[in-house]
């Protein structure tokens, strides 16, 4: 449970608070994301994982400190935070349904030399469908668009919110593979309900409950602690049970 003495974390969050509609959804959240690998942000439904991500990039009003690569960003507006090197893959994809696939991707390009080729190699399906309205894509294809939008640019960190939500097992595996590939070059903060995927990808874990951080540490150690996962996630992370369940049902 002790974080190894590492170089400077890529993302440091200190006493982050956020409110939506008068209700506190993120409460005094503090954690760090190391400069390499995948860190999982876990917790039951509605504990504030999405809100934490949105607060980091200023999509909801927040107080506290957020430091990206040593630079304080909590006072910046969203578009500046993103431009300073954050790739964001939102929960529920949020592709622009009335724009074509190609337009969705072009809109996301912010580097001078966006990595179109990489994206085309990763998602050949999207090339074939570049003229299709994104709203008419399947859920899995939309997730590809959403991931591709983040991978087009050079980022200091990726914030990925439930990329496997509602996807068939085969696509889940594809997404996981893509993330593993991406994680070789960029650190990722990953919100994920599928504990099998977490086990496969994540090194560190941060667990939220009721808008607060209740556990941080090594991902595998956490998942192996059946009693702890049962208490914090309401599900036992028995590796065998998970494999057959596909998506870990953390309700």
């Amino acid at each position: 449970m002790t974080a190894a003495a590492e170089p400077r974390p890529i993302l440091r969050i200190e006493r982050l608070n956020a409110h939506i509609a008068g209700q506190q959804v993120v409460e005094d959240v503090s954690f760090t994301v190391p400069a390499a690998g995948i860190t999982a942000l876990l917790g039951r439904n509605g504990v504030g994982k999405t809100s934490t991500i949105k607060a980091i990039i200023g999509l909801i009003d927040r107080t506290g400190a957020v430091e990206l690569d040593g630079v304080r960003i909590e006072k910046e507006s969203t578009y500046k935070i993103i431009r300073s090197g954050v790739g964001y893959v939102p929960e529920d994809r949020e592709v622009f349904s009335k724009l074509t696939v190609a337009e969705n991707l072009r809109l996301a390009e912010r580097d001078d030399a966006p990595r179109r080729q990489l994206v085309e190699e990763l998602f050949p399906d999207l090339v074939a469908r570049s003229g299709q309205m994104a709203g008419t894509l399947s859920g899995g294809q939309q997730q590809m668009v959403s991931l591709a939008r983040a991978l087009l640019n050079t980022n200091k960190i990726l914030l990925v919110d439930e990329p496997t939500k509602g996807l068939a097992p085969k696509i889940v595996a594809e997404v996981a593979e893509t993330l593993a590939e991406a994680a070789k070059t960029v650190p990722i903060l990953l919100v994920e309900q599928n504990l099998h995927v977490v086990r496969q990808l994540a090194e560190g874990a941060v667990v939220l409950s009721g808008g607060r951080v209740v556990h941080t540490g090594d991902a595998l150690e956490f998942l192996d602690d059946a009693e702890l996962t049962q208490r914090l996630l309401g599900v036992s992370a028995d590796p065998l049970a998970e494999k057959s369940a596909g998506k870990g049902a953390a309700l």
Binding site: S77, L107, R149
Partner: protein, 291 residues
């Protein structure tokens, strides 16, 4: 038959004016959530600017008319850009307060126009051709109708081209759908705000010059009276939809003309009825996002 054709073209001409106002309103609302009560003032300023051009040059030939269109559009655009940049922007995301600001602005602007140009309508002369008529299927249609229709069609095409083929157009379309995701891609959506205001203001200013020829006069009330119908058009067409605004503008204006003629001057009433029906059966408008 000839009456029908005449009513149709008169309706289309009026629909062109509605569209020029509604296009900007709808885009501004769709992208920013701001109901812009000052839009009528943009139109009125454009109309007076165009009239000043005609008055000062003392000429009523085509060149001057085109110049007055240009000046009217520029005046509307400048006023609109000022509104967005100086007043609206300070209240980012506070939609009702933004609406209140535009309301105060429209009160103040109309009063100022009253002070500068007087409350009485001032009459305007276009090229002589405008008052001639062209015979279509036995109907003698005044030529200024065609000018309005052609101008509105050109504006619609230009807007569609801009929205479909430029990066800013793409940003605006995306922003109408999901503004916060646009910012989450690292795009400063506020630039697009200024842009839609400017474009909307230009269309309204242009519409003002055309309206002054259509009605034959300019008055400080001109914009306010067209604005209410433009509101109806945007609701019927679906807030945020340019195509919806175009279709609804034509439908509303033609309906209005026919009802005025055949149902004893009940045009305005029928339009409100149509609005009620649309709301009952399709609250998000013809082409609006279904909520």
């Amino acid at each position: 038959m000839s009456t029908v054709v005449l009513l149709l073209f008169t309706g289309l001409g009026l629909g062109a004016l509605y569209f020029l106002v509604a296009a900007g309103l709808s885009l501004i609302y769709g992208l920013m959530g701001v109901l812009n009560f000052a839009h009528g003032a943009f139109l009125t300023l454009g109309a007076f600017a165009g009239w000043e051009v005609a008055r000062r040059t003392g000429s009523d030939d085509w060149g001057i008319f085109l110049l007055s269109l240009l000046v009217g559009a520029a005046a509307g655009a400048a006023f609109a850009a000022f509104t967005e940049f100086v007043l609206i922007r300070r209240l980012y995301q506070r939609h009702i307060e933004q609406l209140l600001i535009t309301l105060g602005l429209s009160l103040a602007a109309v009063a100022l126009f009253d002070g500068i140009w007087g409350t009485d309508p001032v009459f305007i002369q276009g090229p002589a051709w405008f008052k001639d008529t062209t015979e279509i299927f036995g109907a003698r249609v005044p030529n200024d109708r065609f000018v309005c229709i052609i101008a509105a069609v050109l504006v619609l095409l230009a807007m569609v081209f801009f929205l479909k083929n430029t990066r800013y157009g793409m940003i605006i379309r995306a922003g109408v759908e999901n503004r916060s995701m646009v910012t989450a891609l690292g795009i400063d959506v506020r630039k697009a705000f200024t842009l839609v205001f400017t474009i909307g203001g230009a269309a309204a200013g242009l519409g003002g010059v055309l309206a002054s020829h259509y009605f034959g006069y300019v008055s400080p009330m001109l914009g306010g009276s067209l604005l209410i119908f433009a509101f109806i058009v945007t609701v019927i067409g679906g807030l945020g939809s340019l195509t919806g605004a175009a279709i609804a503008a034509v439908a509303v204006a033609v309906l209005q003309q026919f009802a005025n003629f055949y149902l004893g001057g009940t045009g305005d009433f029928v339009v409100v009825l149509a609005l009620a029906l649309v709301l009952l059966f399709r609250p998000s408008g013809l082409l609006g996002r279904t909520s």
